[in-house]
Symmetry: C2
Subunit: 321 residues, 2 copies
């Protein structure tokens, strides 16, 4: 990638969209945030994006080579089609061609987590590494697998759905319908749900957490559980301990199966409870096979919330430079 070129990266979420102008070194030169009016249907969202792209380009010194978009959903990358995006309630939306028409720029479409992993790989914690695994623990859990210098796509472009590896086959039900998925034990939604369930059984043990949630069990979020754990609340600490165990089991599985050089941990849950990284590292070093960990580094993602924008833009830089 040549410095002096730039591209637009878009992280299109169900409620918010981030749009950035990113240079060939992965630096975000300028960026915007917009509400995603998913209720208005694809055309409202595309109008919003086209407007933001115009605004971003105004007065920019460099002309972007193209646009990359990361969308939370199943993507047909070859055709630029969003096959299914539950948060946006989109099915078979030709995002690539519509955005190209609206902006005059070539457009590459990918999955949002894949984009974030690409960002971390090319410009973040994964820089200069050919074999790595990015695990993003947010409301859900997803990731990206880079092997022998390539981001794995899989047979139908869904590789990296590591939130749905089974770590406890007799464990709680996941949204996907299966028992004991990593996400059902350690994703943000599961953390909130487990803490809420525990609070109903033991309000006294969770008094500190309940206080942070304004006294309403339904207000408990993963972020508040982490905060309460940091403040020493026993119920929250127990939930976070179980989260650490599940994440460790998942990380060990993936490290044993894939033998990455780096395991990169990011996402909102990790950002809110960064001590999880040390716990996971300790567990992986102890429990994974010696051969699989001898060259392994475990580290925090370094691009934070920008990973999606940077990764989406880098896709456009790769495709259109």
């Amino acid at each position: 990638m040549v410095s002096g070129t730039c591209a637009i990266g878009i992280d299109l979420g169900g409620t918010k969209t981030a749009i950035g102008l990113v240079d060939g070194n992965g630096a975000v030169m300028r960026s915007l945030r917009r509400e995603t009016n998913s209720g208005g249907g694809p055309s409202a969202v595309m109008d919003m994006i086209a407007g933001a792209v115009r605004e971003l380009r105004k007065g920019a010194e460099l002309n972007p080579v193209g646009i990359g978009v990361g969308v939370a959903g199943q993507i047909d990358a070859a055709r630029g089609v969003v096959r299914f995006a539950p948060n946006l309630e989109w099915r078979n939306v030709s995002l690539g061609s519509a955005l190209k028409e609206a902006t005059g720029l070539p457009v590459a479409v990918t999955n949002d987590v894949r984009a974030a992993a690409l960002g971390e790989w090319l410009f973040g914690a994964g820089k200069d590494c050919d074999d790595l695994l990015c695990v993003f623990v947010g409301t859900g859990i997803g990731g990206g697998i880079v092997a022998a210098g390539r981001m794995l796509g899989g047979c139908s472009n869904s590789a990296g759905e590591i939130g749905h590896i089974t770590v406890d086959m007799k464990g709680p039900l996941c949204h996907c319908g299966k028992r004991g998925c990593l996400e059902a034990l350690a994703g943000g939604w599961a953390i909130a749900q487990r803490a809420q369930d525990a609070l109903i059984l033991d309000p006294a043990g969770g008094a500190g957490l309940l206080g942070l949630a304004g006294g309403r069990v339904g207000n408990v979020t993963a972020r508040l559980v982490a905060e309460a754990a940091h403040a020493g609340n026993s119920l929250a600490m127990k939930v976070m301990e179980e989260v650490a165990e599940a994440l460790t089991a998942g990380a060990v599985s993936l490290v044993n199966a894939l033998n990455p050089c780096r395991l990169i941990l990011g996402g909102g849950v990790i950002q809110g409870a960064p001590e999880l990284i040390g716990r996971i590292e300790e567990g992986v070093r102890y429990h994974a096979l010696a051969a699989a960990t001898e060259s392994l580094k475990i580290m925090a993602a370094s691009l934070g919330g920008d990973a999606g924008v940077v990764g989406a833009a880098s896709l456009a830089l790769q495709a259109f430079s």
Copy 2:
């Protein structure tokens, strides 16, 4: 790979070694089996191999381009060194250079399961497929991951250790020291152990199985458990049901994470209980993500016991043709 060329493939196990002359189409032209005298140390094993190679070449029309060896253990492929092979009790044995000296042929060394996966990929059930996963369920469980047309090696050449993904984090201890590994629930050693444990608690329910084992609990093997289950023994059927559940959980994890086009199932346990393939397929279609299974085929390995020899030879054909 050109027809008309051939290579020697060796599947070096702790008790037995298979050696074959394999042509450029993956066909075994002639083969030998030898006892592995692992008690005699590396030099005894290498003498045996060199002798077998001489015998194999006698009267062969084609001159092999080289030798490929698959060894159960950790391999430094670049240097041709067996770093650790527990069944052979080898540590840091320079197998490649020693065999080259003894035979005059160039030698490539790899892990035995990796070799078998390579064989299935190039000449067996994985032919003409660029994204696949081979799972071999034998005494242990291992596999090979092919993504975007490459066999994954990982950072320190240990990728594919799928027997040690966690499927039941509160489950039984594995030989590796971790709880609930796929292998600890569904590997041959675990099947035997679970059946033996169950027999001690319920000799009446396992009478049919105990009969097959000559009345001795300690003689129960995974093969006998499968036979007894086929004959309708309730205890054995229950054990095999749990094995199917564990294999399904593991297969779902790997299909979700890697999104292969083909899931290829082989190894002694699958050969002894081929009905497991249908059970796993049913479970994967039901429990894995729709996006991950829409293009997935699940099938039996097709090379049987020859996969290791064919794969090792194909490594030599690739490297030295």
